[in-house]
């Protein structure tokens, strides 16, 4: 039974909000209960942006993640420091090792290191680092199908940005490869 509570965090501009939205969107398409809750206010401007995403087979009570995250996707160092402690035991910690040299401090969580920016640049566009991380997360949890994320992307992008789909698809796939056992 799916009951995933994910924190996506990073600098404003790293696409952490859209990564979370995409995951929520895909969950909705697959008929699951979803919620997306952003941080808002001054801390969003230039500092760390983050969102709480819940994807669940059962109705969602509180959309707030409170020390019970099943996963955290951290794109920069301040996010790692801030959100590592929000993970529950055995939670997944996905660290963007392109920008974060520090290792996970906790040994009761499953940490994965993905050089998301390097991979993104390698496949042609540094902006899809968020999709690399999302690909890795989906590979680890199978919370939604990759095809559904692509379907959600098509809806979000619309016809004018349809040409960006293959790049995003590739980013998701490379992220998955990175954590495939």
């Amino acid at each position: 039974m799916v009951n995933e509570r994910i924190i996506c965090a990073g600098f404003g501009g790293q696409g952490v909000m859209s990564m979370g939205q995409l995951l929520a969107y895909a969950g909705m398409i697959e008929g699951k209960n979803v919620s997306w809750l952003p941080s808002y206010g001054p801390e969003m401007r230039g500092g760390t942006a983050n969102c709480n995403v819940t994807v669940s087979d059962t109705p969602i009570g509180s959309p707030i993640i409170d020390h019970n995250a099943t996963a955290a996707i951290v794109m920069n160092l301040p996010s790692l420091i801030k959100f590592e402690k929000e993970l529950e035991k055995d939670g997944i910690l996905l660290i963007n090792s392109s920008l974060i040299e520090k290792k996970a401090e906790r040994d009761d969580v499953k940490a994965y290191y993905v050089p998301a920016n390097e991979i993104a640049v390698e496949i042609g566009n540094g902006k899809v680092a968020n999709m690399v991380m999302l690909g890795a997360y989906i590979e680890l949890t199978k919370v939604v199908k990759v095809e559904t994320v692509i379907e959600a992307l098509k809806k979000v992008f619309g016809p004018s940005k349809a040409h960006l789909i293959p790049l995003n698809e590739k980013a998701l796939e490379r992220g998955a490869e990175e954590v495939r056992g």
């Binding site: 929520a24 209960n33 979803v34 919620s35 997306w36 808002y40 009570g61 509180s62 959309p63 409170d66």
Partner: protein, 353 residues
């Protein structure tokens, strides 16, 4: 229709347009800005008018003018802005005009903060401005409910010729959830033959007014409005009873807080404690009768709010001295955690079980 994923503030705007809202007057304030911004983008396309007023005071008075002219009209703001609107809201209630007011509550007092709060319960349910009047106050706990209630709010406002408030908080406004637009139940809405649309020389002038210098006349107006409120109390009370059977402790919570309480109820269940929830959906009229349905198993009521304790007054009135009523609240934009709620519940039940 397929579900769509929308941000709360925008979903409220979309629901208003679906409900036939044609006019929106507002003023920027966080955390509700996405709502006027959505209306600025979309209302014109739907044949309506969005106007950014010079102040919240002006905005609500524009609402008064538009409502008096027979239009479906809405305004939105957040706590300090709603405080400014109270003058106009009182006039609208006194002149018996329909409109919808959205309050995406933030912490107070004063300028306060911008994070979610429920500290406008008194302001919303006790009138808020001068005089004896009430707003119908809806407190959605999720976005589907917000959308449903906004759509219904316009009908309820028209039906009773009374302002209706939809009370959210920063979380409801900012979060995204799947929604779909559903027609509210049909109501026979009376024609707006009182609206000031010009006499065309065919009828006596219509007058939109709350002034009655003759005390006997003013009392008569009050009696008429009060009779309407009794009707609303009879017909429009909404609440949710959750897991109430065999509950040892019953929570009272609304909106965002009720969702956190549901998590606390799950946690208590794992510890072998049966807890239930009364969730008012209408804060006014308050669901007094829900408290008559509390089972004999219950030993206490625990009110949980994102305030220093406001709804608890109504809970005590509804409880009528039967059970001990406790309170747990966080304020200023702090959100109570399920664990804190669990701890307080156990404390009320007499320590660790």
């Amino acid at each position: 229709m397929a579900k769509i994923l929308m941000k709360g503030n925008e979903a409220i705007g979309a629901a208003a347009i679906k409900a036939g809202c044609k006019f929106f007057f507002g003023y920027p304030i966080t955390p509700q800005n996405e709502l006027p911004e959505y209306m600025a983008r979309e209302l014109g396309k739907a044949g309506g008018t969005f106007l950014q007023a010079e102040s919240e005071v002006a905005a609500i008075n524009m609402v008064y003018g538009a409502a008096g002219s027979g239009a479906r009209v809405m305004t939105s703001s957040s706590s300090p802005g709603i405080a400014l609107k109270q003058e106009g809201i009182s006039y609208i209630a006194g002149a018996e005009l329909p409109c919808v007011i959205v309050n995406i509550v933030r912490g107070g007092p004063g300028l306060g903060g911008i994070q979610p709060a429920q500290s406008d319960y008194y302001q919303s349910t006790r009138g808020g401005g001068n005089g004896d009047y009430k707003l119908v106050v809806y407190a959605p706990a999720n976005l589907q409910e917000a959308v449903d209630l906004v759509m219904e709010a316009f009908d309820v406002a028209d039906y009773y010729r009374n302002p209706v408030m939809v009370l959210g908080d920063g979380m409801i406004g900012q979060m995204m959830e799947p929604i779909e637009f559903r027609e509210p139940k049909k109501r026979e809405l009376p024609p707006k033959d009182w609206a000031t649309t010009g006499t065309e020389g065919k009828r006596k002038p219509n007058i939109i007014n709350s002034l009655r210098l003759d005390p006997a006349e003013l009392e008569k107006l009050n009696q008429k409005i009060q009779a309407k409120y009794r009707e609303i109390e009879k017909n429009e009370v909404r609440y949710e009873m959750y897991n109430i059977e065999n509950a040892e402790i019953v929570f009272a919570a609304y909106g965002t807080t009720s969702r956190i309480v549901k998590n606390a109820i799950e946690m208590l269940k794992q510890e072998g404690i049966n807890a239930g929830l009364i969730r008012p959906i209408t804060l006014w009229p308050f669901p007094h009768k829900a408290f008559d349905e509390i089972p004999e198993t219950a030993k206490a009521i625990l009110t949980v709010e994102m305030s220093c304790g406001q709804m608890i007054d109504d809970v005590k009135i509804a409880n009528n001295g039967r059970l001990p009523v406790g309170f747990y609240g966080r304020s200023g934009g702090m959100i109570p955690s399920p664990q804190e709620i669990v701890n307080k519940a156990k404390e009320m039940l007499g320590g660790a079980k």
